[in-house]
Symmetry: C2
Subunit: 302 residues, 2 copies
């Protein structure tokens, strides 16, 4: 069974509220205490019955918890750590769900009291929706959760966090934080930045009316707009926190795009065809790995 | 009722075969003659019963047709036009489904006999799948179809093509070909190029294994891979045919991306937040305009 009797969740947005729902669904008997900085969110969490206790402060939420999960934007970590440090139970494990990981140990470890283990985690799952109503219990099923314990972390604590995520349906991987940050820059951060960027570019072209961009978005553009609807605060913090890896990957993206641009300018159809052909294989592999649906158009109903 | 008694379709891939299915479903009594350059596709079209007549040559397919639809890659237009010119019935209308439009009048008009009207068309609909098995009758429902008749085109012919696409469930717009090419560069061509490019970049980063890109693709990357699975020949031809507009839009995309890159480098969170916040509105507008589903994650079933 789960080694946790009481779980504290700080931040009840898409991810925090999904964890609460998944814990309720899959580990009945485990108590949930929750806090969110926004009073409206706290009220909604109460209405939805997502927690056994909805606390007005982060400190109150973590009292007596053996697992504390930070599910707030990366930029709020230090403030939350200061708010909870004195209330953490001896032997508690602190974990998080942030999308960048080197920054987590750096910002949290100095603020946590001795005897509390820090096991940073990143469930690679989500949708473009935000807030406690957007969450759902199956969000993590079949998705990966990456743990990045700093060197010297108690292996028993790592195993307990691993057991927790397995119980929510995730597949768990342990990885060096720096490697995590590079891999996720490729598979998540830079795609989000490009999606945000191109949606902005499209809105700004003088000779194309905004209405036209929207009308004809089924030509491909609409796929980009989904992730460009993701939470702006969360993503601002990801880019600031994972600056080096994002800039490194962005540099390569720009180079590769410039090469295709050059092929178009010079009418080099063979280069274009070769690059396009290779991309198909990656799509096939993602579908085969169970990381996306096989239905055309993502199974959109129309 | 439809002014067409016999429709010839040259090219029976995703779009051609979807048109055949939609014509069958929505205009019973209209005869369909079809041709595809690939013998395997012709055999499959016969098996699927998508046409009343499957012709071995494009010329044979268009005999006695009052509407002829080219549904082949843009690079094959001139060859097809030469193959059908002598067999086109006097008074026939020739149309197409190509994703770039200035090139269509330029390449086709000189090759068509007098008395044949050319009404270029672009149904803004599709999936990442290719071939006759990928098509379906409802592909065009609620999607836009853009007609770009060259100056001087017989208005009656334009109205007939408009009536045809309305009958298949599309909403029809008439537009100048140059404007079409700019709008679609924004909403379709450049998104496809970026998707192809970033999928290639991800595959090439030395310190990230291909398996990792696939495993963690649910972080956002997988959205890009859908359109990067689209037909390479078709897309090569689109980029070569719509070179100027694509390069113009790509230039702006690079500038805007560079601005975000700079904001990340200098830790300018406010610029990032402002840009991300604005992108949400575009997504909302696309969903409200009925051009995408409102379900989180595109309604992916997991």
């Amino acid at each position: 069974m789960l080694p946790f009797a009481r779980i504290g969740i700080v931040g009840m947005g898409l991810i925090g509220s999904s964890i609460a729902r998944a814990v309720r669904a899959r580990t009945p008997g485990v108590a949930i205490a929750a806090h969110d900085a926004c009073p409206g969110v706290r009220a909604r969490v109460l209405e939805l019955g997502l927690a056994d206790c909805v606390a007005d402060t982060a400190g109150t939420a973590v009292i007596d918890c053996d697992l504390v999960i930070l599910a707030v934007p990366l930029g709020a970590y230090a403030e939350v750590a200061r708010a909870i440090a004195a209330d953490l139970a001896p032997g508690a494990i602190v974990t998080d769900v942030g999308s960048a990981k080197q920054c987590v140990a750096a910002s949290l470890a100095p603020l946590l009291p001795p005897g509390v283990a820090l096991v940073p985690a990143h469930p690679v799952a989500g949708t473009e929706r935000s807030g406690p109503d957007a969450g759902f219990a199956t969000l993590f099923e079949g998705r990966w959760c990456i743990l990045t314990p700093p060197p010297g972390t108690d292996p028993a604590a790592v195993e307990q966090v691993r057991a927790f995520w397995s119980r929510l349906g995730s597949r768990v991987e342990v990885m060096d934080a720096a490697h995590h940050d590079l891999v996720l820059a490729v598979t998540s951060h830079v795609p989000h930045l490009i999606a945000y960027s191109i949606v902005g570019t499209a809105a700004d072209i003088e000779h194309v009316a905004a209405g036209e961009v929207i009308k004809y978005s089924a030509g491909g553009f609409r796929d980009f707009t989904r992730i460009a609807a993701s939470d702006p605060t969360m993503w601002r913090d990801v880019f600031l926190a994972n600056r080096d890896a994002v800039l490194e990957v962005l540099g390569r993206v720009s180079e590769d795009l410039a090469a295709l641009q050059r092929a178009i300018r010079w009418g080099d159809g063979e280069t274009l065809f070769r690059r396009f052909e290779a991309s198909r294989a990656t799509r096939r592999a993602i579908v085969e790995a169970g990381q996306d649906v096989d239905a055309p158009d993502f199974g959109r109903t129309r």
